[in-house]
Point group: C2
Chain length 198, copies 2
């Protein structure tokens, strides 16, 4: 006895990641209670985003322009490219406001299980960019997962004749992390990569 | 360095119940990846829902018509009205396909803390409906919370001169529930309301 329009809305909401049928119903009710404040602006924002957002032809970031704002920004350092798996990782790094170079979004990791090979990721574009004379350093900022590290090793192979320095993020104890709760792998890495007090 | 359109989308998504800034970013990325399959249909569904869905003038349910589908359905039993707090509760009861009477959605519970009095809920409309000669029974199906039960007692007072039988949902052990995990209140109620094996 739920109206067709509400039913369609619940069905579409339940397709979002992490949202099941129960959450979708709760969301739909909450949205319908706040018609002018939320549902219409959200509808418009989704439409706007779908119409204007595109993938950057250089780094595969999402932005309203292509090349994206980061690739166009003349104030950023052309000599460094940071490789990330997903756009969410790029956003995470940007929030730190520490890195001022360029990015390259792979769009995933190599995965034999999921049948994702090098040709499914943005690797050819990366190799092309790495061969540019201006590029001095490539930072591999992939996740510290098995797939992420496999992909990192593959990238090191592909980049070895490109005349760039290839670096990776430090592994170790997270800031604020308690040793007691850390997994053995992290502790071993942190021990092996220990450094002298400055 | 996130585009304005994406930023607006994330901001609006983070206003949804149970969705914080981190989930909103993940949702936005997932939506942007599925432009044609998800983002445009969702935008359209939200707009449709905002434009067509209204509150039923009789029972305060949400539907595309007013009176709503349930109030208009000639096959349903006019002599019984089931009082629920929220539309979500009405949906839950409808999913059981057992109740075939009418509903009345209060829109909340009385709450001294939140300053919600009888005039903020759909109580006048309910009393008017209860005075109709055709109505024989009113089922109070409010949540078994302190506010829900306070409201139930208030409703019993208001309805006592309306010449209707006022009933409430049974309290007891949930079907499939293990005694060991039940709170004392539920167990006491279940003991006191024990019934003979049929």
């Amino acid at each position: 006895m739920i109206g067709k329009e509400i039913d369609t809305l619940i069905h579409l909401l339940s397709k979002l990641p992490g949202i099941g049928p129960r959450s979708a119903r709760r969301l739909a009710l909450q949205l319908l209670k706040q018609k002018d404040h939320l549902i219409l602006p959200l509808s418009e924002a989704l439409k706007q985003a779908a119409e204007t957002v595109k993938t950057c032809e250089i780094c595969c970031n999402l932005d309203t322009t292509s090349p994206c704002g980061i690739c166009q920004d003349a104030a950023r350092d052309d000599s460094t490219i940071c490789i990330v798996e997903q756009i969410g990782d790029l956003w995470a790094l940007e929030r730190t406001r520490v890195y001022r170079g360029r990015y390259h979004v792979l769009g995933g990791t190599l995965s034999a299980l999921d049948n994702i090979g090098p040709e499914d990721l943005a690797i050819p574009g990366l190799v092309k960019r790495a061969k540019d004379d201006g590029v001095k350093e490539i930072i591999i900022a992939l996740n510290a997962t098995v797939d992420g590290q496999t992909t990192a090793h593959y990238l090191i192979d592909r980049l070895q004749y490109c005349n760039v320095k290839v670096t990776r993020l430090a592994h170790g104890v997270p800031v604020g992390g308690a040793l007691d709760y850390l997994d053995d792998g992290t502790l071993i890495t942190a021990l092996q990569a220990r450094s002298a007090f400055a």
